[in-house]
């Protein structure tokens, strides 16, 4: 059910991050100076600040933060390290420097009390959501009650979050406009991750098809004494005649050759 369970390889992670045009989590995020994310108003955070003095929504690069204010601490709980990293990267690029990733295997309660987050993102498919909500409701260590979804009256944003597969818990009392862009960023990144998965699957299919065609060409060259171009032309002609894909015809050639014992010599 979960798209990326089962420990994706580092290579895959790197591939995806490269695909997104981002590097792995930088060690010193403050050295990065990302431009303010689109659609964020800089006045918003400053105006809302008086009600919650210790919290400031960083509307842009960290340097925009007022002196003495702390940026929101954002916690991402996700089994999928790739996706968590992608969201983290997006949030950092939008100027949110206090982002913590937590894998689900960790003892959640103790870690969350230590982290003391203002905003929590968790995969909608996580079986730990019930546990998380119970903690928020009964824990004395987590003093502030935590509500879910930025604005429960904004149906479109809720649906966007659910479609994307992300759920958010936001410290009660935070002005919704202050966290809206954080949620939007996370939802956008979740969606980007899903698109990437689709593209990656396509790329894999493409690669597999290429491999079949190469093997089929080799078989035809050997058994029929054709040149490479002639072998490919034969495959293409057959595909056109049968109304099938070249890869499918190639696959049939490979299977037939292996059944007849006249297959490739590897």
């Amino acid at each position: 059910m979960r798209p990326m369970s089962g420990g994706p390889s580092t290579r895959l992670l790197t591939l995806i991050l490269l695909h997104l045009g981002i590097r792995r989590t930088p060690r010193h995020p403050r050295q990065r100076r990302a431009p303010p994310a689109r659609g964020e108003g800089c006045g918003e955070g400053a105006r809302a600040a008086p009600t919650m003095p210790r919290l400031l929504f960083c509307c842009g690069a960290p340097k925009m933060a007022r002196m003495g204010d702390r940026p929101l601490h954002i916690l991402i709980i996700d089994e999928s390290r790739i996706r968590a990293s992608i969201i983290e990267q997006g949030l950092r690029e939008a100027g949110h420097t206090r982002v913590t990733l937590l894998e689900e295997a960790a003892p959640l309660m103790r870690r969350i009390v230590e982290i003391d987050p203002d905003v929590v993102f968790i995969d909608l498919e996580s079986p730990n959501r019930d546990q998380l909500e119970h903690m928020f409701q009964v824990s004395r260590a987590l003093k502030r009650p935590v509500a879910m979804f930025v604005d429960s009256s904004d149906r479109a944003s809720i649906e966007a979050a659910i479609d994307a597969g992300v759920s958010a818990y936001v410290v009660d009392g935070l002005k919704k406009e202050r966290v809206k862009s954080i949620l939007d960023t996370a939802v956008g990144r979740f969606n980007a991750f899903s698109r990437l998965q689709d593209e990656l699957a396509e790329a894999k299919d493409e690669l597999a098809a290429r491999k079949s065609i190469d093997r089929a060409k080799g078989i035809l060259m050997r058994t029929r004494g054709l040149s490479e171009d002639e072998a490919y032309a034969l495959l293409r002609r057959t595909a056109m005649n049968q109304g099938r894909k070249i890869a499918a015809v190639a696959e049939s050639v490979v299977v037939a050759a292996s059944l007849l014992g006249g297959g490739e010599t590897t």
């Binding site: 309660m109 498919e125 019930d130 546990q131 909500e133 429960s152 659910i162």
Partner: protein, 412 residues
């Protein structure tokens, strides 16, 4: 569209969310074994990994109905969830099959403290109280017990059982929420001392050698509510006849599930990858009401996981109100006459009666009863025929009069 010989019937689509538990049986059977189609419905079942996500999908309308913990629709209508929504409960999904299962080490300790092996709720609660007192005297940590959700019958029956022996949840034991599928592993890893969860998860813990079944829901409160069919109010009101067809389909499936002759097929069906994805051997004990408790002890538990018998699908308003009293008791919501009213009105025996009228089956005429008053199976008044209900006693002999909610709460 015309097909040879007959007009093809257009089926109405219903999307129903569920959590993999044995008590989803009536809904799953209605969807998969033809009962829904006979009522002109095509049911799509959507398996969820948490009650929270099931609830959120309900709120945004990606599902129309759900197999839901009995207190959850009440909590939703009281505005206790994160998203506003209005739900109705036109039927219950049977009397529950929950077990209180403890780790092997705790079981051995409880035996030394006098716990019997016959599932008796009072005697096991007393042994549990001794265990708690012993740990406190030795300066050891409080026992940690798992429940499946904040607003669950598991939570309330476990707390009721403990409190009857003077053990205060939160103070004397810690209650934590753990996904039911991880309970056995949590026992094994000593992160939990015990848990209350629906089948097959108690049987899974026993089969894996991690746990021992101490008592059951049926021992704590006989014929008590567990899951309900919750439906979005807007969906229910959009087409009352469509709702009635859904209730009929699930009701007829529930009757099928209770039939001993269908047990093998039911067990195999539930065990399948689309539903519970568990070995049939761990699904069978709960369905057959023949529990393997561990240590070679076995017990036939009458009334455990009952789907339709004795009006098990009837949405008693008194059940809703009792669940509400427990929400108040455990400080999840403040008491008010207005919120009690909302809680009671969430369960809709009127919709149940209207839906089942064409089937001519016996349905209780009353919408509420004094819970705990029936000590044996008792015939009750119906408009159409014979029906027996009960016994419905709480193990401590207390009674709950739904007309005296405030008084009941003040007695705790």
């Amino acid at each position: 569209m015309i097909t040879p010989g007959k007009m093809e019937r257009k089926l109405d689509e219903v999307r129903i969310g569920f959590i993999p538990l044995s008590d989803v049986a009536p809904v799953a059977v209605a969807a998969g074994l033809g009962f829904a189609e006979e009522e002109g419905l095509r049911v799509t079942l959507l398996r969820e990994t948490s009650w929270a996500t099931l609830r959120d999908r309900m709120a945004v309308g990606t599902i129309d109905a759900a197999h839901m913990l009995a207190p959850m629709p009440i909590a939703a209508n009281l505005g206790l969830g994160p998203l506003p929504m209005s739900l109705v409960v036109p039927m219950a999904l049977g009397f529950g099959g929950n077990t209180v299962t403890v780790s092997r080490a705790v079981w051995e300790a409880l035996v030394r403290l006098g716990a019997p092996g016959d599932l008796d709720a009072a005697a096991t609660a007393t042994a549990m109280a001794r265990l708690v007192a012993g740990r406190r005297a030795r300066g050891e940590p409080r026992p940690v017990l798992g429940i499946v959700h904040h607003y669950s019958a598991h939570h309330y029956e476990l707390a009721y059982w403990l409190a009857s022996a003077g053990v205060e949840p939160g103070r004397d034991v810690e209650l934590v929420v753990v996904p039911p599928s991880l309970m056995a592993a949590a026992l094994e890893a000593r992160q939990l001392d015990g848990f209350c969860a629906g089948e097959p998860w108690g049987s899974v813990a026993v089969a894996e050698g991690a746990g021992h079944i101490l008592t059951t829901k049926a021992h704590i409160w006989r014929s008590s509510p567990e899951k309900v069919l919750a439906v979005r109010r807007d969906w229910a009101e959009e087409d009352a006849e469509r709702l009635a067809r859904l209730v009929r389909a699930v009701y007829r499936a529930a009757v099928w599930c209770d039939e001993p002759a269908n047990r093998d097929r039911l067990v195999d069906y539930l065990a399948g990858g689309e539903l519970l994805a568990q070995p049939a051997a761990v699904v069978r004990p709960g369905i057959a009401r023949e529990l393997d408790l561990g240590d070679g002890l076995r017990a036939n538990v009458a009334g455990f996981l009952t789907f339709a018998e004795r009006a098990a699908t009837f949405p008693w308003v008194s059940h809703a109100l009792w669940l509400y009293t427990q929400m108040v008791r455990w400080r999840q919501v403040g008491f008010s006459a207005a919120s009690a009213e909302i809680a009671g009105a969430t369960y809709r025996p009127d919709l149940y009666r209207a839906a089942l009228a064409p089937l001519g089956v016996a349905v209780p005429s009353a919408s509420s009863k004094v819970e705990g008053a029936l000590t044996r199976e008792t015939p009750v008044g119906t408009a159409t025929g014979r029906l027996t209900i009960g016994p419905d006693g709480f193990f401590d002999g207390r009674m709950f009069d739904p007309d005296r909610v405030a008084e009941y709460l003040s007695e705790h």
